[in-house]
Symmetry: C2
């Protein structure tokens, strides 16, 4: 049906933002069997420890998070995903899930069976490259989060989260120039940056008091984005937003390793 093909068009666009595809590749992607599915807020999509013979989900609308729990139940959100993100490449080749994946808001996803996806990767090198890059960017973000939580103080951490989200929402065409809808509660922000909800509250209050941001319900408005960036020490390089690969073989002549 045409609805399915709209979704796959979007998936193609996502892949092409990572690696340019041939007409063949495009066709193969468009032929993928997908199943659309809706998740209520807070529903688990994958549970840690679960045996994986599932599918990978592509987010159509809404937001998802990935998180882990310590033995004593403390929760760390390890990543956030927005519409257009591929939801778990991270588990494509593993037997057991090592973390939980959860819908943050009401969420619609297109699910692609693992076997179909693996076959696509086998037969279409440029698609494979696009998926590699997607997974690598994911890892890069994860490293930046580790730096954030490990080395910045509360202000810096929160400011950094807001900046990253701004950059990603903008890239997804979901932000106005001065703000966006932030779909997280203060408690969730705390779980993402390793702080308690109370301290998140204090810190955001301070940011508001300095006229850097305002928050109205879920809408976040930047009054001084440069100020926030400075506090965060934010640079978007780690998002690899401009990463485009044209040749999976990497033929540019300089074969130093040879």
């Amino acid at each position: 049906m045409t609805h399915t093909s709209l979704i796959l068009e979007r998936f193609v666009r996502k892949m092409e933002s990572r690696c340019s595809l041939s007409p063949n590749d495009r066709e193969a992607v468009l032929a993928l069997p997908v199943m659309q599915r809706t998740y209520q807020p807070n529903t688990y999509i994958i549970r840690e420890g679960e045996l994986l013979q599932r599918h990978c989900a592509f987010i159509i609308s809404g937001f998802a998070i990935r998180q882990k729990l310590t033995n004593v139940g403390a929760r760390q959100i390890v990543s956030m995903h927005l519409p257009g993100d591929l939801l778990d490449l991270q588990h494509l080749y593993l037997n057991y899930a090592d973390h939980n994946v959860q819908a943050l808001t009401l969420m619609e996803a297109a699910e692609i069976g693992r076997p179909a996806l693996r076959r696509l990767v086998l037969r279409n090198p440029r698609v494979a490259t696009a998926m590699w890059i997607d997974a690598l960017v994911d890892s890069s973000i994860s490293r930046e989060w580790l730096l954030n939580v490990g080395q910045r103080d509360a202000r810096g951490r929160i400011a950094h989260l807001l900046c990253e989200f701004a950059a990603r929402m903008t890239a997804a065409g979901m932000a106005s120039d001065s703000g966006y809808e932030l779909p997280m509660t203060q408690e969730q922000i705390g779980d993402a940056v390793g702080l308690t909800a109370v301290h998140v509250n204090r810190t955001i209050k301070a940011l508001k008091a300095e006229n850097l941001i305002t928050r109205d319900k879920r809408h976040l408005h930047f009054h001084d984005i440069e100020g926030i960036r400075a506090i965060a020490g934010f640079s978007s390089l780690y998002l690899h937003l401009d990463q485009i690969t044209t040749d999976p073989e990497d033929r540019p002549g300089d074969e130093r390793g040879a």
Copy 2:
């Protein structure tokens, strides 16, 4: 020369611990052009921001770390690598390095040119799968570190680091049953778990006082590994040590996505 082939044998073994290879695959890996190289302690192997048209390194002996710096110079170690680890898959398909890679000790590495490695991946699906898995395990470790730094207290963080290292060193055949050589200073431990060197010192002192560990120069000895595991809340599942894939196509019949 025979020395080179010894190194590649080891590389093959690494790949085979991730995905079983065909004789063809093995041959292709063994035919890779490698260049051996020695790095002095603290030498940079890759620098953040650098344009990547380099090689990937396979560690023969010694240790390496990957790290990032904040704008104010605070350092977060985001991962550690030991002999037998593939040192930067993380950058295989990216244009710019998003973090630094540094030798921790005197280190010998075998360097494989990026083009050669990419070609190998294109032509040998099982090798590609092995490398996917390697990269995914890397990400999984990164997530666990994030959980560690974000949610555990100082004792838990350090205990967890020690447990992880024990598990990995054991898997690499480099640990005795009661301990191993830990190649990090207290300051480096601090940079890995998001604490100051002073506090690392305090915490380790407490662990010693409770007769859980002793440290003699660089040698770490566990007196009560179960005690340490309990403090860390350690479970080795996230290391995916038993992960072996046999079929890149994932054909087991259940094509739910279809």
